[in-house]
């Protein structure tokens, strides 16, 4: 069997799993609902895009990024900043102040860097540096605090944040990519060029900090109060149900208006996401085959040799790190659009960082198709391991009495089987098939 056939079969298998989810309710694993199948498909597509981004970093360049969650969350923030309508009066009340404070903060940092670069090392430099930083911080807080208070005081039950620009939500997707790229540039600039573990630790840190900023800066993202009702690129179910021509068309497929409209909306998302995924996949393939892609892999395989050939390893690493993170940001914006809400409290590194890693490793690092396959496949299992785990435990404990505490405990905690299974899959693949399902050519 040639490789192409094998790989097509793998993709067909994932397609079959999703079709079975919609068509059958076999063994309690599949739900037999097309809505649920489309939900899995949509998140699978987004996961595939994230996996593509991570594959760019890890598969092409060997960079270990464990801050995917942070870049995803920045994408989500971009949706709020771009697509929500501006809060009336917020800009006049404190928006200017906040912007000025942020500019002031940035100026302080730039000034400190300049002083560090241009003054001679010594006590004088340290003192001036400290003075600039401390003064800058206090000025920043003096402008920032009252402005934030003013903004957060505006209708706190519903708004209390600056709001966004009120632009179409699709524009937020590239904006999410840009935001993530900016953060990645900052991190890459400091941690790349040092030993490989440092990038991992630095990205782990930045992800936690991005999440805590989103959780605590209410003026920006409403914090844990969440931003709900974000605009959507597809029509609302209710509008469709009130549209007689849609109801008629749904009836020709044998669907009632409610089911028809929900499926229609989800299909709309699926098409949008597929378009983005295919475009990115095409670009990633072109990049892989181009001289640039070959250079990246050469750097990955032997940094010293690549450096000897005159390649600037650190700069190339920075480049691909920013690109990969931007894709994660884009995917994050798409995810927030799909949920039509930003809930900073729900970002969890196990789900948003490490799961993506499992996808890339299982799919086949270094191969774009592998990343896409891994994204879809692992997402399906992530959703389905829970019912499977419960089934398995019920099967294993059938001999126990129903009021047995152990049985109750096991069933209650069966949902945590997810992490265990994902860890096991990761370890098994790394050990026995480190090149993944669709290996790099």
């Amino acid at each position: 069997m040639s490789d192409t056939v094998k790989h097509s079969l793998l993709f067909a298998f994932v397609g079959l799993l999703i079709l079975m989810e919609g068509a059958t309710s076999f063994a309690g694993i599949f739900s037999g609902s097309w809505n649920s199948a489309l939900v899995i498909l949509n998140m699978g597509l987004i996961s595939a895009i994230m996996a593509l981004g991570v594959n760019l970093q890890w598969g092409f360049a060997g960079l270990f990024n464990v801050g995917i969650m942070g870049f995803t969350a920045l994408g989500g923030l971009a949706v709020v900043l771009v697509s929500t309508s501006p809060t009336p009066g917020a800009f006049a009340a404190g928006g200017m102040g906040i912007l000025m404070a942020l500019v002031m903060g940035a100026l302080t940092v730039v000034g400190a860097v300049a002083i560090y670069k241009f003054m001679k090392p010594g006590i004088a430099r340290t003192l001036v540096l400290l003075a600039v930083l401390i003064a800058g911080f206090f000025i920043y807080r003096a402008i920032f605090d009252p402005s934030v208070e003013a903004v957060e005081a505006i209708n706190p039950a519903l708004e209390g944040n600056l709001g966004g620009l009120g632009l179409p939500v699709l524009l937020a997707w590239p904006a999410g990519g840009l935001l993530a790229a900016g953060a990645a540039w900052l991190i890459g600039k400091t941690a790349l060029g040092l030993r490989s573990d440092y990038l991992a630790i630095a990205t782990l840190g930045i992800a936690e900090i991005i999440i805590s900023v989103l959780k605590n800066e209410d003026w920006l993202s409403r914090g844990v109060k969440n931003v709900v009702g974000l605009p959507r690129p597809v029509p609302y179910e209710v509008d469709l149900q009130n549209d007689p021509s849609f109801v008629e068309r749904a009836a020709t497929f044998g669907l009632d208006p409610v089911e028809g409209s929900t499926i229609f909306v989800k299909l709309g998302y699926s098409i949008l996401f597929t378009v983005v995924l295919l475009a990115l996949l095409w670009m990633a393939q072109m990049a892989l085959k181009s001289p640039w892609g070959r250079m990246m892999r050469a750097i990955r395989d032997n940094e010293v040799a690549a450096e000897a050939m005159g390649k600037d390893v650190t700069r190339r690493h920075l480049q691909i790190f920013v690109l990969g993170s931007a894709i994660c940001g884009l995917a994050g914006a798409m995810m927030t659009t799909l949920d039509s809400q930003l809930t900073p409290g729900t970002y969890n590194p196990l789900r948003f960082t490490f799961l993506i890693w499992v996808m890339v490793i299982v799919g086949g690092s270094g191969n774009n198709f592998g990343a896409v396959l891994g994204g879809m496949l692992i997402w399906f299992f992530w959703i389905k391991v829970e019912p499977m785990g419960i089934e398995l435990i019920e099967l294993l404990t059938t001999f126990m009495a129903d009021d047995n505490w152990l049985k109750a405990h096991l069933i209650e905690n069966a949902s945590h089987m997810r992490l265990l299974t994902m860890g096991l899959i990761l370890l098994l693949v790394l050990r026995f098939s480190p090149r993944g399902l669709i290996p790099e050519k």
Binding site: V66, L194, G205
Partner: protein, 336 residues
Amino acid sequence: MELLNALVAFTNFVGVPAIAYGSQLAIGALGVTLVYSVLRFSNFAHGDTMAFGTMVTILVTWLFQGAGISFGPLPTALLALPFGIAVTMGLVLFTDRTVYRFYREQKAKPVVFVMVSLGVMFMMNGLVRFIIGPGDQRFADGERFIISARDFKKMTGLDEGLAIKTSQGITVVTAIIVVALLFWFLNKTRTGKSMRAYSDNEDLALLSGINPERVVMYTWLIVATLATIAGVLYGLDKSFKPFTYFQLLLPIFASAIVGGLGSPIGAIAGGFIIAFSEVTITYAWKKVATYVLPETMAPDGLVQLLSTDYKFAVSFAILIIVLLFKPTGIFKGKSV
């Protein structure tokens, strides 16, 4: 008098908590640094090893409490600690046999090890949540305070109280004992010396007949002990929650890197640096300031540099500064 009050308030809200937290971080960072220097990778599963050890200790503590065994004024968890350490040692050796050894034989790159440790982290995290659940567990019992704020006020006649929790006292005492034992072990015993030799120069150590598998085994045993102790102390002081332990990874890594990865003294220094900066930067200085400053200059706000939610940002910022200016850390760790 005012100055004394300020000093007491400072000690109460910054000094004592930071010393306790710093000791916990230091013991945690020692584990990370040992794995790094002998096995040569950053162990992402360390936080979850701590969680696992703490979980076993908690389960044994509950068993003891159920059987009516207690440790007088001290928390029962201290009695359960050896059991927790033993079980964690078993688990860690098991993961080494089944997981890490294969890659060691292959001489895999460090980044592969890091990724494998991610898988281990995942599994341990799942295991802990599966057994004890993801919720908060408090298991401290016995006397709560060594000195309570009210007793202190009565004793000294000051306006400010100084409270020292039993858990904080135990943390510091245990940390001193653990660190002393560890340094004695590394510097005086044959096994400890062979560990240091192996970490300094693998080839030379092999030439002089050191058995690498033995060195690795001892390292894991020590790491399991350190992780469990750090986890239990943190849990006694605050509370046990699997996710919090996972999050402790960041300050622990920051401590180890600030001090210099691979340097035990550096890990201890790093732990205290991170803890003190975290606590001082997120502490609301209003109380201390009102005692020190003249009345007209008394501050209106809380005088808090950053809200406590940003404590990770502090360890992260320190980490970045160190990476920028001195990537090998204060005590010149190694950089492979």
